[in-house]
């Protein structure tokens, strides 16, 4: 038997909402207390399960946005999909003190930790920032100075999730640089990019392929397809480009 398959069973665990944080007009962070949480690698996700009074259950996957250093506090950031079945309940109805069930951590390919080499190029579209934020927070918690660049595409300034924290972390001067592009609405005097991520932007914001960066791309499928293809065209080996696509189905 291959040892790699002998993994612990993923049990459903009760998780209590200890804090709800507004993240712009459409997203909320839920900080969950999960007794017995076994820990995770930055980039992994959880499955969340909700049960209706008649026994009907719905499950969705959410990336973990918190670093493993938060121990039994696991946070997820949920973008409200108006027509979704699960996300409006999580963003609007579930209050501090309420509980849900979750299990994890799940996944293990789209991960980065400080033991892995850099430089690290993170590319996010919308709520695709969430698993990348776990990496950025983990990097900060460990005092790592691995050269790291984040290129983050959002619709408007107010849609940027974790903006204050990103600004603060980038301001420390520990080798984290953050670039934004706003694709729909730019505030007056905006000095960042204002178009969809393209090859030229990746070339300026990213590292030269000769530096052998690890590129992690997360966002909606069209963005991930375009970015991953462009990174390979620029000369990055496909196995240094890891992707996580958010389907358009929402939840």
């Amino acid at each position: 038997m291959a040892g790699a398959t002998l993994q612990r069973r993923l049990i459903w665990r009760p998780a209590r909402v200890t804090r709800r944080l507004d993240e712009g007009p459409r997203a909320k962070t839920l900080v969950l207390e999960v007794p017995g949480w076994p820990g995770h690698e930055p980039g992994q996700h959880v499955d969340v399960r909700l049960t209706a009074p008649d026994g009907y259950q719905a499950q969705r996957s959410y990336s973990i946005a918190s670093p493993p250093e938060d121990h039994e506090q696991v946070s997820i950031t949920v973008e409200r999909i108006d027509t979704g079945e699960v996300s409006p309940y999580l963003t609007d109805t579930l209050m501090e003190g309420d509980s849900l069930e979750l299990r994890g951590p799940i996944g293990g390919y789209f991960v980065w930790s400080t033991e892995m080499s850099g430089p690290l190029f993170l590319i996010a579209g919308g709520s695709g920032i969430c698993p990348l934020m776990a990496m950025i927070r983990h990097r900060a918690a460990r005092g790592s100075r691995v050269p790291t660049r984040l290129l983050y595409s959002a619709r408007s300034l107010e849609d940027i999730i974790y903006s204050h924290e990103l600004e603060q972390l980038a301001g420390r001067g520990y080798g984290l640089e953050v670039f934004y592009t706003l694709t729909r609405i730019q505030p007056p005097g905006w000095r960042g990019y204002s178009r969809r991520i393209d090859r030229a932007m990746l070339e300026v914001a990213g590292f030269a392929p000769a530096q052998h960066p690890l590129c992690m791309v997360c966002g909606p499928t069209p963005l991930v397809e375009a970015v991953a293809n462009a990174l390979v065209e620029l000369g990055n080996p496909p196995d240094r480009v890891k992707t996580e696509r958010f389907g358009p189905t929402g939840g």
Binding site: A2, A4, T5, L6, Q7, R8, R9, L10, D47, R49, L50, T51, A52, P53, Y56, Q57, A58, Q59, R60, S61, E85, Y89, T93, L94, M95, G97, D98, S99, I106, G107, G108, Y109, F110, T221, E225, A228, N229, L231, V232, P238, D239, V241, K242, T243, E244, R245, G247, P248, T249, G251
Partner: protein, 199 residues
Amino acid sequence: MSPAPFQGRPRDRASADRLPPGQYLTRDFPVLSAGPTPRTALADWTFSLTGEVDQPRRWTWEEFRKLPSETITRDIHCVTKWSKLDTVWEGVSVDALLKGVNSSARYAMAFSDGGYTTNIPLEDLTGGKAWVIFAFGGASLVPEHGGPARLLVPHLYFWKSAKWVRGLRLMAEDEPGFWEMYGYHMYGDPWREQRYSGD
């Protein structure tokens, strides 16, 4: 104070018996892959049978497309919770590819461009249960959905239906593929909700 209960969508009885536990219906076709979409020119494409076989076999794209093909309509179920009903595919059955092959193997490892692999028992690939697909919804399979060719094993979670498939390695013993090594289930039956190791 007790929280407002989760209600969920109105239950749809017609589709409910076609939805495995924990799944929801989608009309889109989401894309999930771990890396960039590989692009292989048809002139360079081959499909191989390797491993525990009397003699390895290999088809070029032209040879592969001359094999008898069929149109298949099936429901598909992704481990990320979406299901899609009545998807229409065109492809060559694995039975047709294994015709005349002598092997005592009980498992197969599908392998793909980009390095992806996934393991499947041979009895789940034979007897009209699996195909190597070249068209979806009446059109050539696009690269994002695994083109030029992908495996289709619709009775298992969709990660078993390897995109960009280039062959099958027949094996005497079961071995974990790409996602299986990261803790996904070795078999992956959606009706028994075998998402992860130990389910």
